[in-house]
């Protein structure tokens, strides 16, 4: 498949990111080699901070899937899982990671050395069904690993009540007890507070970085979304804070100097749903007509604050809200967030990725489309795709729709391509 060409004005921090990614995986392998317990866990919740505070090594199998997509490993993994009987209609993250661990996992030449095998698995009930089923399937693949199954209420963001949070708090305590018993490591609460402080600082920096997108031209675009890697894998560490501080400084400087992503920013676009991880260059496709993807839904997942003086409650809350903020449990809340982003960031048009691999994010998109049109007069275009499986995405269809959409937007603004 033809890939769109790379953006020429990458951020310095984008290069820095490659180092952070390589170091993370190196750290994971070293931990395994040194006998530090390695735990596989679901993404985007408060378990990561507890792991860092207890000096355990977190590994995120779901995050490995974008890596596989970027390195071209996904198609082979899909073959393996399909061969096992996993339907091609299932979420690509599930099909990929299952194929990866049941296939020639970590064979010679696997990028970043692959994933070290788990000593612990934090399995889950909660979040989306594919995310649960991923962990349940991984449990079977690594029978030697010790398993703890955590629960998270599946409740819409705007519907969270104290009792939901209480249950999350008790589940968090249960997890800590289990980790203590299983690994013999004690949780030092002062250390936890420090980790939560770092985590909070990362969120604060994240929001600050995102807020610079209100500048025209935008100093950072969705093409740089890879930076969320630090939020997924490093939240609660100094590494994340340092990286984000550097990124903030760079973005701030660019904003102040009026440096954008392209020569002339004519159209400011919004992207809904997960990007095509196998073709991140797509974001730059809009550039030929002066379009920049300024903002996207996903970044909202880290728009929250944590209170270091109440570390357990903060982490419980983080676990509770992360999934609703980007899923169909809260279509209204998500719609409001998208409308706000489109207003704040002066968006001209929205690109809605109808993502076969992610039903929870795709459901409600049409109501969002209508709200954008009716409440803000912002037009949108729907792109059929898949964030993992290139077979469910047609570059030609994308280009035709994107071209027509941008022409329409330019005309609406009285501009020419």
């Amino acid at each position: 498949m033809e890939k769109a060409k790379k953006s020429y004005k990458r951020l310095r921090s984008a290069k820095e990111l490659n180092r952070v990614v390589a170091e993370f995986y190196l750290e994971c392998h070293e931990a395994k080699a040194r006998g530090k317990p390695v735990g596989w866990m679901p993404p985007m919740n408060g378990v990561i901070e507890i792991f860092y505070a207890m000096d355990l090594q977190p590994v995120f199998p779901e995050n490995w899937s974008p890596v596989c997509a970027a390195f071209g490993l996904a198609p082979r993994n899909f073959e393996v899982s399909a061969g096992m009987g996993f339907s091609r209609d299932l979420c690509g993250y599930l099909r990929n990671i299952v194929g990866y661990v049941y296939g020639p996992m970590n064979e010679e030449g696997t990028p970043l050395g692959g994933l070290p095998e788990p000593d612990l698995i934090i399995s889950a009930y909660g979040g989306c069904v594919p995310a649960m089923k991923i962990l349940h399937t991984l449990e079977r693949r690594f029978p030697e690993a010790k398993v703890h199954t955590s629960e998270l209420p599946q409740v819409g963001y705007e519907k969270i009540r104290p009792y939901h949070l209480d249950y999350c708090v008790s589940e968090t305590h249960r997890l800590i007890e289990w980790l203590t018993e299983t690994t013999g490591r004690k949780l030092d609460y002062d250390r936890l507070k420090e980790v939560v402080r770092l985590s909070d600082r990362a969120c604060e920096l994240w929001d600050e970085i995102m807020s610079y997108r209100r500048f025209i031209p935008t100093p950072i675009s969705a093409a740089e979304l890879g930076v969320m890697f630090v939020m997924v894998t490093r939240q609660g560490t100094q590494v994340a804070v340092d990286f984000l501080t550097g990124l903030r400084d760079e973005v701030k400087e660019r904003a102040e100097k009026g440096i954008g992503m392209i020569e002339e920013e004519k159209l400011r676009l919004f992207w809904d749903n997960i990007p095509m991880w196998y073709n991140m260059g797509l974001f730059n496709y809009f550039e030929k007509m002066g379009g920049v993807v300024v903002a996207e839904t996903y970044s909202a997942a880290w728009s929250m604050r944590l209170d270091p003086d109440k570390p357990i409650e903060s982490l419980a809350r983080k676990s509770l809200v992360s999934y609703p903020m980007v899923s169909c449990t809260s279509i209204k809340k998500r719609r409001d967030m998208v409308l706000k982003a489109c207003r704040d960031f002066h968006i001209d048009g929205a690109v809605l990725h109808s993502n076969k691999s992610c039903v929870p994010i795709t459901l409600g998109q049409m109501d969002m489309k209508r709200a954008l049109e009716e409440e803000l007069g912002i037009p949108s275009v729907v792109i059929d795709g898949d964030h993992m499986d290139a077979n469910n995405f047609s570059v030609a269809q994308f280009q035709t729709r994107a071209d027509a959409f941008m022409e329409m937007l330019l005309e609406k603004k009285g501009l020419t391509p």
Binding site: M84, G85, F86, S87, D89, L90, C91, L94, S123, Y125, G126, C128, V129, P130, K133, H136, T137, E139, R140, T149, E151, P153, Q154, V155, G156, K159, R161, Y163, H164, D166, Y167, S170, E171, R174, S327, C328, T329, S330, I331, K332, S354, K356, V359, P360, T362, L363, G364, Q365, M366, D367
Partner: protein
């Protein structure tokens, strides 16, 4: 003695819209639900009629602009019906969180179909004192929401509703038992019609119908032992003819793992000190849906069910794109095969099943079982 006839049930399904609309216009609120994990006893105890929303094979027109093509036909068709005004008698939708699509659908429904109450109960998965404490509060919240639209749940009303549904479930299981003993001349499709009537009829009206039917059935034993014994497994089957085709192809459905079947009844009741305890206890001890349990824990239960009903094969009737069922399939198949039971997967698409194809596939599956 009452005549042994399924006609009243077929009529109950057929006329359900008019009956429920009449009920609603007389001021009795009707609330829809998608999944059998919804605490319907609670809704009933509040003074309302819980009705299971079905898709009924409706062709998709209006729902196409609100939902992607890659969600289960069941819920897409249900939304289509609602958009066409076929669910105008509903005052809203209440459900328990089971799968992502159902969760998204209730929210889309709320934005596009007028109603007074839309609510999802976030159900716990694993039984523990903390989970029960949490569940009790989730039910209390449901009670508050029902009160907002004029309902009132008391310990006494909840106990009465639990007893009522408990009796319906017990009687339904009686039918299953008679049938699996070969003492009930009723095809699987007919049995499904009997069950389906219960999903769309106020329980106080349905129970006497069911009781009379079971009584008549018991008095009139009739063997029906033809066909290769199979178990069907899946989620919602709202079109009985699918089972008709399967049996016409030479199979005899001796058991099911469907939420329009056994999973809605088993177990009939729960134990506990107060009515809420009883409701919660049943929730945790239900015969599991793949959305509620790890495949590796569910698989042995399904194997036991298949073996216990002496099925020689399992036919999976899966709604296309249904993540919980599809994700479990490899694990469940492996367990069945290890136990010497073979499986066939049939996906039900939006455009319906092709009868000829279904027949051919079932026939060759049965042939394979005979080898």
């Amino acid at each position: 003695m009452t005549a042994f006839s399924i006609q009243p049930f077929i009529e109950a399904v057929h006329d359900s819209r008019e009956r429920l609309a009449a009920l609603a216009s007389r001021g009795r609120k009707v609330l829809g639900y998608f999944c059998t994990y919804t605490p319907i006893e609670f809704i009933h105890a509040a003074g309302f009629v819980p009705v299971r929303i079905l898709g009924g094979g409706t062709p998709i027109e209006q729902a196409a602009s609100l939902t992607p093509t890659f969600i289960c036909p069941y819920l897409r068709q249900a939304l289509e019906r609602a958009l066409r005004g076929e669910y105008g008698f509903l005052s809203g939708v209440v459900q328990g969180y089971t799968c992502d699509v159902a969760c998204g659908l209730i929210n889309i429904w709320e934005l596009n179909v007028p109603g007074d109450l839309y609510h999802t109960v976030p159900l716990p998965y694993q039984d523990s004192p903390d989970a029960r404490k949490y569940f009790r509060q989730a039910l209390r919240e449901l009670g508050e929401r029902l009160a907002d639209i004029g309902g009132r749940v008391t310990d006494a009303s909840l106990a009465a509703s639990l007893d009522l549904y408990g009796n319906i479930r017990r009687r339904s299981l009686d039918l299953y038992r008679l049938r699996s003993q070969g003492r009930l001349a009723l095809s699987a499709a007919e049995l499904l019609s009997v069950v389906q009537a219960g999903l769309v009829t106020p329980p106080e009206d349905y129970l006497p119908m069911l009781e009379a039917f079971v009584e008549a059935a018991e008095a009139r034993p009739q063997a029906s032992e033809r066909g290769v014994p199979v178990l069907v497994s899946g989620s919602v089957i709202d079109q009985p003819w699918v089972l008709e085709v399967i049996e016409a192809s030479g199979a005899r459905v001796v058991g099911d793992d469907l939420c329009t079947g056994l999973r809605a009844f088993s177990p009939p009741t729960g134990r506990g000190g107060d009515p809420t305890d009883r409701l919660m206890d049943r929730h945790f001890r239900r015969f599991p849906c793949p959305a509620r349990m790890k495949a590796q824990e569910r698989a042995p239960l399904l194997v036991d069910l298949a073996k216990g009903s002496r099925a020689e094969g399992v036919i999976f009737l899966i709604q296309k794109f249904c993540t919980p069922h599809l994700a479990d399939l490899p694990v469940v198949m492996e367990a069945l095969e290890a136990a010497g039971v073979r499986g066939l997967t049939v996906e039900m698409e939006e455009t319906g099943l092709n009868e000829g194809q279904l027949r051919t596939r079932v026939e060759s599956f049965l042939e394979m079982l005979g080898d």
